[in-house]
């Protein structure tokens, strides 16, 4: 990304206040309500530095959790939770049954790293499951939980096909990535994207990000990385089961399951009609059986 010309307006180190539309300078994007924003995470340039995790924790005032060592490679975060909204996954491809290989291939090729986050689904299953309306679509086409309305019922937790939404047992409410809703309203790009030193996490308008991602796929294919593909773009893997598309989508080089992503996520609401039909049919069949048995008993009694 080239430098924006407005950067020359702010040569000083100390600023009087927030730079208006700062995202133009840091992310090359102007944030306006009514447009669709998201993340493009290119896993091929992720170095596993966890700057995104730290930036997210710092901005959102999230406490450290899962204190201790997991024993899973360099991953001590473990998973996304109510207090962890970014999680850098470390997948070791070399070695055998958990034992690391004695020699590592150059250029970190023995590793797959991916910064996981809420996908901000177009047809968000968590939003559909929420009975109080606490989960809503913002003016930036992102999915956010309103804390003053959430009653902690937890229906959204199993509805999320990615296992992102989590209930905090301390405050009794669910939490997840807000795509830095407060920062977007202030013209700032999300903290994780701003902190990413390799631009593995790119923030922007979704149509622009899709174009950038397709270009990147082309470049990788030319370089011989033919297995590279996009997860979560319209009609692509990850955007299955009527989810539409994912506002946070990924460039992957392995099967989704390797990154702990579902191969074919679906909306929980798709299962309501078959479940209800099966339930009603079962009740009907049992009622008919009971009537039949009752009638035959009475017939034999005469």
């Amino acid at each position: 990304m080239g430098l924006h010309e407005r950067i020359h307006h702010y040569p000083q180190s100390d600023l009087d206040g927030v730079i208006p539309n700062e995202s133009e300078l840091t992310g090359g994007v102007t944030i306006e309500p009514g447009r669709s924003y998201g993340f493009f995470t290119d896993t091929t340039v992720c170095i596993g530095c966890k700057a995104c995790e730290v930036a997210c924790k710092e901005w959102n005032n999230l406490p450290a959790d899962s204190i201790g060592l997991t024993g899973q490679s360099f991953d001590n975060t473990g998973m996304l939770s109510a207090n962890t909204w970014r999680h850098v996954a470390f997948v070791e491809r070399e070695g055998d049954r958990g034992v690391r290989a004695a020699e590592q291939a150059p250029f970190q090729s023995g590793w797959l790293m991916m910064s996981d986050v809420c996908k901000h689904c177009h047809n968000a299953p968590c939003l559909e499951a929420c009975p109080t309306g606490a989960i809503f679509k913002t003016e930036f086409d992102t999915v956010v939980v309103q804390q003053d309305i959430c009653n902690g019922c937890g229906y959204c937790v199993p509805a999320c096909p990615f296992g992102v939404v989590a209930l905090n047992e301390v405050d009794g409410k669910v939490h997840k990535c807000t795509l830095c809703y407060d920062r977007l309203k202030g013209g700032l790009e999300p903290a994780c994207a701003k902190a990413c030193p390799t631009e593995s996490i790119q923030f922007g308008e979704l149509s622009d990000l899709h174009e950038k991602a397709r270009e990147r796929i082309g470049v990788l294919h030319e370089r011989g990385v033919e297995q590279a593909y996009l997860y979560g773009t319209p009609d692509g893997p990850g955007a299955t089961g009527d989810l539409g598309h994912l506002n946070a989508f990924f460039l992957l080089t392995e099967r989704p399951e390797v990154y702990n992503l579902p191969a074919a996520p679906t909306r929980a609401s798709n299962r309501v009609r078959p479940s209800l039909t099966t339930g009603v049919a079962t009740i009907g069949a049992l009622a008919l059986l009971a009537i039949g048995l009752f009638s035959s008993d009475r017939g034999e009694g005469r």
Partner: protein, 75 residues
């Protein structure tokens, strides 16, 4: 039952049900509002905007680098 502790200071940061309080020694403490506390996340942002001086009764949170705030009182 974890031991409860009272900390006094100024609310300098509030995000959802989490807030940071700086005590007189300049040490910052991170709290998560308990579901049983007589306060809502929306109250925290008001306290933060007013840079309110408060007294927080809290206990340790399990597996979390934060304390659970059970009671908040204005000083």
């Amino acid at each position: 039952m974890a031991a409860k502790q009272t900390i006094e200071g100024v609310v300098i940061l509030a995000q959802e049900s989490r807030f940071q309080l700086t005590d007189d020694a300049g040490v910052s403490h991170l709290f998560v509002l308990s579901h049983g506390a007589f306060a809502e996340p929306s109250d925290l942002s008001i306290l933060q905007k007013q840079q309110a001086r408060v007294r927080v009764r809290s206990s340790e949170a399990p597996n979390l680098k934060a304390r659970v705030a059970h009671r908040i009182e204005l000083c």
